[in-house]
């Protein structure tokens, strides 16, 4: 059913349709609306049977999910930013134990300085945790990815993060087609665990594994994600046949046929990029877009074949590998090793810095002319940066960086409040 609905509410509806049996809730912006909506559904018994647990921390949220999943229940939680970091030990543990938990990450920056706005630093910090990570371009895709995620997670017995841009998607009201219970039931079978804590058949889960077997266990986690490379497109096409919509998959291309320049990105910024690409196409530029939907597993082959026919690509990413450059860009460059393409990285939108079309136009044109440095920081205030660097040269006790920058920029409140 088509609804004009907030992204978080839409995701809560989708999760509820997946019949989760245990939901762990801990508030952290910008994820909170999702678990609030689910809480109301459980309390009103619209979602039943389901245990909704208000835990005392994100660490507990993931830990309770681990227990529930190991006992054979379909488990769900949601988090963001500091919350994801706070639960990190349990995040790795869930993947190591092979428990198919689904978690929404409402992507948000990581402090310090504390910042509640969107970028991709949080889930990307969990790149190697063993969790799969699927990125939504819009709220319809966020809904659809959750349904696909439960199916994929349980098939492979591995956990999945569904990543959606905090605020930009979670708090946006837009048109979303919420599927029916019948459709979801037809697509998502009941959870049949590979391992379950059951007194009638006692097993030990989580034993210590020494050097003699640890490599094999870890390799199998990798092998699962390689299987996911096969299954993700199949599940997306099966999804299309049930729901009549195309969402998910490993990668998507937009106007890349004959494109000489391809912009590579993940998440909601794809929408803005597509608008810019359309405008540039109208002016005769041969430019296209490659959307990474599945960040983990990373579809090396699909990325390579999507880029192989272009001359250059620009990875625009909302994350920064401090001391190195791009995080996503590293993977993309790995995919096209030896292909002889020019590759550029643009770090943009950190901590919720808006990304305007008016900034993307010149950036893409510079990429087209191969005039960009290897790494560009979009909309960086060099004056403020240089002033701080100078201050640090001048005096030993230069004080806290964040406060100095705020002072220099004279920010009381942003231009529009």
């Amino acid at each position: 059913m088509l609804k004009q609905i907030e992204g978080s509410k839409a995701v809560a509806e989708a999760v509820a349709l997946c019949r989760p049996e245990v939901i762990c809730a801990y508030p952290i912006s910008p994820q909170t609306h999702i678990v609030e909506a689910l809480g109301e559904m459980v309390k009103s018994q619209r979602l039943s049977p389901c245990e909704y647990i208000n835990v005392e921390s994100e660490f507990a949220a993931m830990s309770v999910s681990i227990g529930a999943s190991a006992a054979g229940a379909r488990a769900y939680t949601a988090t963001a930013s500091q919350g994801l970091l706070f639960m990190t030990e349990a995040v790795y543990n869930a993947a190591g134990l092979g428990l198919p938990i689904v978690m929404t990450v409402a992507n948000r920056a990581i402090g310090a300085p504390i910042n509640i706005w969107n970028d991709h630093s949080d889930s990307l910090s969990q790149r190697d945790s063993g969790w799969m990570q699927l990125f939504a371009e819009n709220n319809q895709e966020a809904v659809d990815l959750h349904i696909q995620a439960f199916r994929l997670a349980e098939e492979l017995s591995m956990p999945i993060m569904v990543c959606m841009d905090g605020y930009i998607l979670t708090h946006a009201f837009e048109r979303v087609d919420i599927p029916s219970q019948e459709e979801v039931d037809a697509y998502l079978p009941p959870f049949e665990p590979r391992q379950v804590l059951d007194p009638s058949e006692p097993i030990t889960i989580g034993a210590m594994v020494g050097p003699e077997a640890f490599m094999e266990v870890k390799y199998l986690a990798h092998a699962k994600q390689m299987q996911a490379i096969e299954r993700i497109p199949e599940l997306a096409s099966e999804f299309r046949s049930v729901f009549g919509r195309e969402n998910g998959g490993l990668v998507r291309t937009y106007r890349v046929e004959d494109a000489e320049t391809v912009i590579v990105a993940m998440g909601s910024v794809i929408g803005t990029i597509k608008d810019v690409v359309d405008e540039m196409r109208d002016e005769g530029h041969r430019i296209g877009v490659l959307t990474i939907v599945s960040y983990r597993p990373f579809p090396l082959e699909q990325v390579r074949s999507a880029l192989l026919h272009c001359k250059r690509f620009l990875v625009l990413e909302k994350s920064l590998a401090v001391g190195m450059g791009g995080i996503l860009a590293t993977d993309v460059r790995m995919a096209v090793t030896g292909a002889g393409l020019m590759g550029y990285t643009a770090i943009a939108g950190l901590g919720g810095r808006p990304i305007f079309k008016s900034q993307l136009h010149p950036l893409f044109r510079q990429a087209e002319k191969e005039e960009l440095p290897p790494v560009t920081f979009l909309d960086l205030d060099w004056e403020a940066v240089n002033r701080q660097l100078e201050r640090e040269r001048q005096t030993r006790r230069s004080g806290p960086v964040a406060e100095n920058i705020l002072h220099d920029k004279g920010i009381v409140s942003a231009k529009f409040g």
């Binding site: 245990e51 005392e56 507990a60 227990g67 054979g72 007194p199 006692p202 889960i205 210590m208 003699e212």
Partner: protein
């Protein structure tokens, strides 16, 4: 040889020998009905108090739940010595996640059982003092506060033994550990304010809190079974000497545990909904020296450079416990 009457306290231990009890009261290691939840062949040290305590606690929980039990384990000695790859001592469904989350994992299992209508299946979570009073404290408090249907058992051996005997918040004053060495003017662990987990558990108002020692296994079994007959969050704090960490003889584990109780340093009691309901009285009061002396971790209090002032401070702690919990009968005092 003629008839030799058996004296009740013939061994001088003030315990009742098994053979003096009627068969139904006897504690039998190798009873056919025993579930042997933690089977033989594990890698615990000789005289490990935790292995003994866990065996009795989990078997009692198994008996009371008619075999419908799931166990959770925090990282620690018990977890490591019971599951050396590729073997497991556990004959119950058992899960280990990480160090600090056993109470939360247990909450998840209890929730799963509830949602599936398996109310017959019960959940026990267990951890050492480090996993309980330190790193798992937040999760434990959350589980208590929500009154989740979990029995949590803390095996308290008063330090991080798994990592090589480092101080925890359950380490007693003056004790030597690898991070509180017996050097300097105030050797050993500082006299802090302590962190009384049973009382903290009681402050949550949960249905049942009890303490026990491995010196009285029947009392432990009774308390586990009692706890298992209740629902909601329950907590048992079990005193388990560690020969390796404490520097005691392997054959002295039971004796040391008994001395902890008889000295008043470890009060043994039960509490319901935040109120103490029963106390195991001291049968023959001993001074703390009798408890401290056999333990190498307290050796620096005695010997050539003794610290009698520290011993008396420890005695004060014992006296405070005795007053607070009423551990002495009028006549025994």
């Amino acid at each position: 040889m003629g008839f030799q009457p058996i004296k009740f306290y013939q061994t001088g231990t003030y315990t009742v020998g098994n053979r003096l009890l009627s068969p139904d009261q006897r504690s039998v290691q190798a009873d056919e009905a025993r579930s042997n939840s933690i089977n033989s062949g594990h890698r615990a040290c000789q005289g490990c108090g935790e292995a003994l305590g866990a065996r009795y606690a989990i078997d009692a929980a198994m008996a009371e739940s008619h075999g419908q039990l799931i166990a959770v384990n925090a990282t620690g000695c018990l977890e490591v010595f019971s599951t050396p790859y590729p073997e497991s001592s556990w004959q119950v469904p058992w899960i280990h996640s990480v160090f600090g989350n056993a109470p939360a994992v247990a909450t998840g299992i209890a929730a799963a059982m509830k949602v599936k209508g398996r109310t017959d299946v019960r959940v026990v979570a267990q951890g050492g003092d480090g996993g309980t009073t330190d790193i798992g404290f937040g999760c434990l408090s959350g589980m208590f506060e929500r009154n989740d249907d979990v029995l949590y058992i803390c095996y308290d051996n008063e330090a991080y033994m798994n990592t090589g005997v480092q101080r925890s918040s359950a380490t007693p004053p003056a004790a030597r550990t690898a991070t509180t060495m017996p050097v300097g003017p105030e050797p050993g662990n500082p006299f802090g304010q302590g962190k009384n987990l049973p009382e903290i558990a009681m402050a949550h108002g949960i249905p049942y809190v009890a303490t026990a020692t491995v010196a009285d296994l029947r009392d432990l079994e009774y308390k586990v079974r009692r706890a298992m007959r209740m629902h909601g969050a329950r907590y048992i704090h079990l005193f388990v000497p560690c020969p390796l960490g404490w520097g005691t003889a392997s054959h002295d584990t039971i004796r040391i545990a008994r001395l902890a109780k008889e000295s008043g340093l470890f009060p043994v009691f039960e509490a319901e909904h935040g109120e103490v309901t029963s106390v195991l009285k001291i049968r023959r009061k001993v001074g703390v020296e009798e408890y401290l002396l056999p333990q190498k971790r307290f050796a620096h209090l005695f010997g050539s450079h003794p610290h009698p002032e520290m011993v008396s401070r420890i005695q004060e702690i014992a006296e405070r416990n005795i007053r607070k919990y009423g551990l002495l009968d009028e006549e025994a005092a």
